[in-house]
């Protein structure tokens, strides 16, 4: 007997953003994300409440991967953020906070959404045009003949993730390693298209960070210490390599769920082993020196090959297959029937290495754009965070080589941009106003947009310090809490957020929150200023620019929602 159940009606919610509940959850999410932002951001312990691993993080990618949200508006927001992070790795929190700030500010001014969305679009294009322009005051061209700027960029990323638990020395060491491993992935002879190699992060948990290192070539972890003794004394220039992705364990492949018909007296296992030994014979005849297999190699085949002085490494795992195939020039072999000699490759040399308590086989190859990044940190929690951070930094370097600019970090780009837009809207409103919106509407939206940027910069401070901006460059300045009432800002501040300007210059400051009157921030960053400054805080240009776009567009989309229709079945 079949039973029919009546379908539930769909749930329809109109003007979702006007609901108190939605605003409350949005502000909780904003609170979580905002409190993570920056070098002094607060960490979050993520766990499933049942015991096991506790992830302590302040990174958007780790946070988003674990956070499950139910409300559709929050889902739009987190999905947008995840998309951004998967494309650019960096500036995830930036995007999310800016988006939340924009929504909050726009709801406060109470203009119709269509007006706000239109004007927001204008302001966004004004911002991106400025950031892309030659006279932009917060963009620096990257000088590749000098590592200093790239090191600053990497260092800024490392210091903005406090859960990595690195000291200054360790930050310097890891930054240098990240840059080194990135440089190793750039091919020496560049034709018309540059194809970057890969740096493989090899985990070494429990060791000191300072023990991390970068090696050209591939490191394969070996549990079999005895294998080290088998390494051949080198008698030729290279070693011939065969790489198998098929299992060589003697498994019968391809039977699936079906059944087999076997003649009496035939042992399937022996048949499989015979096939393997035939393969072994062929490998020996072809003078292969090194056999590597993604899966297990049958002990008999191993024994056979090692009596013929062939080195066998099995259980490589799927992750190493692609880089191995690339550096050795092999075609991974998927069948056991016959091996075409064209699928063999070669390595230059083979040596053994020991790091911490682990043993590795080090393949030194002719193809030189692959390197191994042995990454250490004291425990699992901090290692995981450091690994994510290193991946972000490597990605940011790749983005920077494509678009060779960096933005000033430490909140300075945001405050400078806000000052620029306020000034533009005040002095040249006709450059924005074309569609017949009133001056008041424009001022309200500009106020919402700029204060979203400014409070984003202000989110860098979590201890209640005073946030200031100077009236010359529009940069971000931070004063410690409990500053004495008789304020001499010059002594209380040392350098601006990005480290470019010193407080000893003749500057005038005002509190960021109260900056309402517009001023002309100095555009066109002079080259000398940048060269004379050291240890700047820098941000990735590509990631920040598209983060800005993503934030404004997502905010516009959320503001535009008038109904949420939920299917409850």
């Amino acid at each position: 007997m079949s039973r029919l159940e009546a379908k539930k009606p769909s749930l329809c919610e109109s003007e979702p953003l006007t609901s108190e509940r939605v605003r409350a959850t949005l502000s909780v999410l904003k609170g979580i994300i905002t409190s993570c932002y920056g070098p002094s951001g607060r960490l979050k312990q993520l766990h499933n409440g049942l015991g096991g691993y506790v992830c302590t993080t302040s990174q958007s990618s780790a946070l988003l991967a674990h956070l499950s949200v139910t409300h559709p508006i929050l889902k739009i927001l987190t999905t947008a953020m995840q998309n951004h992070v998967s494309c650019f790795s960096d500036c995830g929190l930036f995007t999310a906070i800016l988006c939340c700030n924009l929504i909050e500010n726009v709801l406060r001014i109470g203009l119709p959404p269509t007006t706000v969305i239109k004007l927001n679009k204008h302001l966004l294009s004004l911002s991106t045009n400025y950031l892309k322009s030659e006279f932009c005051g917060c963009r620096i061209p990257v000088n590749f003949s000098n590592t200093e700027m790239l090191l600053c960029l990497v260092r800024s990323i490392l210091t903005s993730k406090p859960a990595c638990m690195l000291t200054h020395k360790e930050v310097d060491h890891v930054s240098a390693l990240i840059l080194k491993s990135f440089l190793l992935t750039i091919p020496e002879n560049v034709q018309d298209r540059v194809i970057l190699g890969k740096s493989i992060i090899v985990p070494l948990k429990g060791q000191r960070v300072i023990d991390s290192t970068v090696l050209p070539g591939i490191l394969i972890e070996i549990s079999d210490v005895q294998l080290m003794k088998m390494l051949p004394t080198k008698n030729s220039d290279s070693l011939k390599v065969a790489l198998f992705c098929a299992s060589l364990s003697g498994d019968l492949t391809g039977t699936g769920e079906g059944s087999m018909v076997v003649t009496y007296g035939v042992s399937l296992e022996n048949a499989a082993l015979d096939q393997l030994l035939n393969l072994g014979n062929q490998l020996v005849n072809d003078h292969v020196d090194l056999v590597m297999c993604q899966k297990v190699v049958h002990p008999s085949l191993k024994q056979f090959l090692s009596t013929h002085h062939v080195i066998v490494i099995d259980r490589l795992g799927a992750a190493l297959m692609e880089p191995l195939s690339k550096v050795t020039g092999t075609q991974p072999i998927g069948s056991l029937d016959s091996v075409s000699p064209s699928s063999y490759g070669s390595v230059k040399d083979l040596s053994s290495a020991r790091f911490g308590s682990k043993h590795f086989l080090h393949l030194i190859t002719y193809e030189s754009t692959i390197c191994s990044f042995l990454l250490c940190n004291r425990n699992e929690t901090t290692w995981d965070e450091l690994k994510l951070t290193c991946q972000t930094a490597l990605h940011v370097l790749q983005l920077t080589i494509k678009e060779p600019w960096v933005l000033l970090g430490g909140g300075c780009t945001e405050t400078h941009l806000a000052a620029y837009i306020r000034h533009k809207a005040c002095r040249e409103p006709e450059s924005i106003l074309k569609d017949g919106y009133s001056q008041t509407e424009l001022q309200l939206v500009v106020g919402a947009y700029c204060s979203a940027l400014e409070s984003l910069a202000g989110s860098l401070e979590h201890d209640g310090g005073d946030i200031l901006t100077d009236m010359k460059y529009g940069h971000f300045w931070l004063a410690q809490t409990n500053s004495p009432p008789s304020i001499n800002w010059q002594d209380l501040l040392s350098r601006c957020g990005c480290g470019l300007y010193s407080s000893q210059e003749e500057l005038k400051w005002s509190f960021l929150k109260s900056t309402q009157h517009s001023f002309v921030p100095q555009t066109c960053l002079p080259q000398e200023t940048v060269i004379s400054a050291n240890k700047l805080i820098l941000d990735c240009y590509t990631a920040k620019l598209s983060g800005l776009q993503m934030a404004v567009e997502t905010a516009n989309m959320i503001l535009d929602l008038s109904y949420i229709i939920e299917d409850q079945n």
Partner: protein
């Protein structure tokens, strides 16, 4: 400022688990009320792995586990400091110190201390001269031949020397008597005691194994003596290897195994060369038949059973195979018997006496082999197999049918070391094998785990001191220097630009809090020694010492001078890493403001009120 729940939890847990600090450890019972069983634990990692912990507790356990895995020691230090520092951080928060200032200053303080204590490092220079004598040695000392029976009898480590080693100072005649420089017995027994006036000051480091072993023993001389013996025995067989280079000695712990022996008192523990295990008494006739003559042995890496297949091979299920022609397939028992016969044939053909199997052994086969005069040992550790393979040239294989003449190791010796409650203690060895087994005895079985942990802690301590080739003077010297360093730092900032403006305001409070960590460590460590019964008295004594060190003008020189007399050493990296891990843990928890329970989508603020929000 609201209470920081995470720091509170951390402090409470760390203080509870910190009772294992110092040489005198009090064991704890962990009772499982649900199942009604209880376990006696004697170290912090063992305690923490038995407890059910919240998120902060799990971070603490992870830090302790990581320290234990990396160094095997100093987990008590980690817990003591983590507890004291989380209390200090809480107090600073209540004083209104911002979190970022707290993090920056604590890191700065620890960094300064780490730099300062580097001056206290003492070199360990055990050259080969002190470990190895020029050959040939006097016959009575020759460690060359494998002597079945008492492994001690003619090795200089005569059975009388089984008492713990006494720390002995380096003697002036070490270099003078080149011929007997090996003189391990002197080093281990030290019965003559230091020559008055000839003892070199410890500021010049350690040149003598006996001295090192004694100074590292930390209230457990028995285990350290075993570790020292293991080192010496391994060094002996190392020197027999062709082409071995006489570098500074190191202790390779993959070549050290343990074997439990419940019953006899702890002092009856010893170290023997080769692999030692306990065999059931029923095997006694077979063992005595094989004892004392060179044997042929094979090594198997898997199980020795009919159904064993190497990992990664999945034989097709029988229901999937249809057999064409022939009669019904053989029964399982018949198959097994046929298999056993084949294995026996292979072993017989190779004239094997001894089969060492890493996994399980089919009981039927064991009996058949015993009848044929072949002894089968199961559950042999992998390290033992490989060490024997290395010494004999035998090749370990996975299946019995892989065996060939190439896989047989000849000249293996079987020796009976004694008789225990559970059977015979036998050892398997071969000339020059780089493998030793520590036979650990313990009267109470409940303490066996702790006994083994203590042995490994000693072995790790010796291994790391040798590996790093430097030690710290012990007895709180390092901590005292840190205290004086912090005091100086709090009073006098390094240079103004090194600290952000505004930080200086909080420096005395934060650095004082950091100093409290070492203060309570010293007080706890001192109060567990006999002359200082109460923590209060210990704290006063620490304060007095600190005053003296600071007022001397050069604290490091003063401390080196003062700490010369008692010969106690501390390890360098494990200690410093424990400090760093403790601070990392406290700062990690300090900077955490929310706990997100994922999956069920709960967000719970740990700081302030317990607010639960569903997203």
């Amino acid at each position: 400022m609201a209470r920081h729940l995470g720091l509170e939890q951390l402090a409470t847990l760390a203080e509870a688990a910190g009772a294992f600090l110092g040489p005198v450890k009090s064991a704890k019972f962990v009772v499982d009320e649900e199942r009604g069983d209880s376990v006696l634990v004697g170290s912090a990692p063992r305690l923490l792995e038995r407890l059910e912990l919240g998120a902060t507790g799990r971070l603490l356990a992870e830090a302790v586990r990581a320290q234990h895995a990396a160094h095997g020691v100093a987990t008590g230090t980690l817990l003591c400091l983590a507890g004291a520092w989380s209390r200090a951080a809480q107090e600073c928060l209540q004083l209104g110190v911002p979190v970022s200032a707290l993090v920056a200053l604590m890191n700065e303080g620890l960094g300064a201390c780490l730099d300062a204590v580097d001056a206290l490092r003492l070199p360990v220079r055990l050259s080969c001269r002190h470990m190895r004598g020029p050959r040939p040695l006097p016959a009575a000392h020759a460690p060359v031949a494998w002597v079945p029976g008492l492994p001690w009898s003619d090795r200089g480590l005569d059975s009388g020397s089984r008492e713990p080693p006494v720390p002995c100072a380096p003697r002036t005649d070490v270099g003078a008597r080149e011929g007997t420089a090996l003189a391990h017995s002197r080093h281990f027994r030290g019965s003559q005691g230091p020559h008055p006036g000839s003892a070199a000051p410890s500021t010049q480091g350690c040149h003598d194994l006996g001295q090192l072993v004694g100074a590292l023993s930390r209230g457990d001389p028995g285990s350290m003596w075993l570790a020292g013996t293991a080192l010496w025995l391994l060094d002996q067989s190392e020197s027999l290897q062709p082409g071995s280079c006489p570098g500074p000695p190191t202790l390779d712990l993959t070549r050290v195994l343990t074997c439990y022996l419940p019953g006899p008192p702890e002092a009856a523990s010893y170290v023997c060369p080769g692999y030692a295990t306990v065999l059931p008494a029923a095997q006694a006739p077979l063992v005595s038949a094989l004892q004392g003559r060179p044997l042929r042995a094979v090594l198997l890496e898997g199980d020795l059973t009919e159904s064993y297949r190497h990992p990664g091979l999945h034989p097709p299920a029988s229901r999937m195979c249809t057999v064409l022609g022939g009669g019904p397939g053989p029964e399982e028992e018949e198959e097994e018997a046929a298999w056993a016969e084949r294995v026996l044939g292979v072993l017989g053909g190779l004239q094997v006496h001894l089969v060492l199997v890493q996994g399980r052994v089919c009981p039927g086969l064991r009996e058949v082999c015993a009848a044929a005069g072949q002894l089968v040992l199961d559950s042999v550790p992998r390290d033992a197999l490989w060490a024997l393979a290395e010494a004999t040239g035998a090749q370990p294989v996975a299946y019995a049918w892989q065996l060939s003449e190439l896989c047989v190791g000849a000249g293996v010796c079987l020796a009976v070391l004694g008789e225990g409650v559970r059977g015979l203690i036998v050892s398997v060895g071969v000339n020059g094998v780089r493998l030793v087994t520590a036979v650990l005895t313990c009267p109470a079985e409940a303490l066996m785990q702790a006994r083994e942990d203590r042995f490994w802690a000693s072995a790790r301590r010796l291994q790391q001191a040798l590996g790093e080739r430097s030690v710290f003077p012990g007895g709180g010297a390092v901590e005292l220097l840190c205290l004086s360093q912090l005091q100086a730092l709090a009073e006098m900032p390094p240079d103004p630009p090194a600290r952000r403006p505004g930080l200086q305001l909080h420096a005395p409070a934060v650095l004082g809090g950091l100093a409290r960590g070492w203060h309570s460590f010293l007080a706890a460590a001192l109060s567990r020694r006999s002359p200082f019964p109460s923590e209060l008295e210990a704290a006063t004594r620490v304060q007095r010492l600190l005053q003296a060190a600071v007022s001397s003008g050069a604290p490091d020189a003063y401390i080196l001078r003062e700490c010369r007399t008692p010969h106690v050493y501390d390890l360098v990296t494990p200690k410093l890493e424990a400090w760093r891990r403790a601070l990392d843990l406290v700062l990690l928890v300090l900077q955490t403001d929310a706990e997100v329970v994922v999956g069920t989508a709960h967000v719970r603020a740990t700081q302030g009120a317990q607010a639960q929000v569903l997203l």
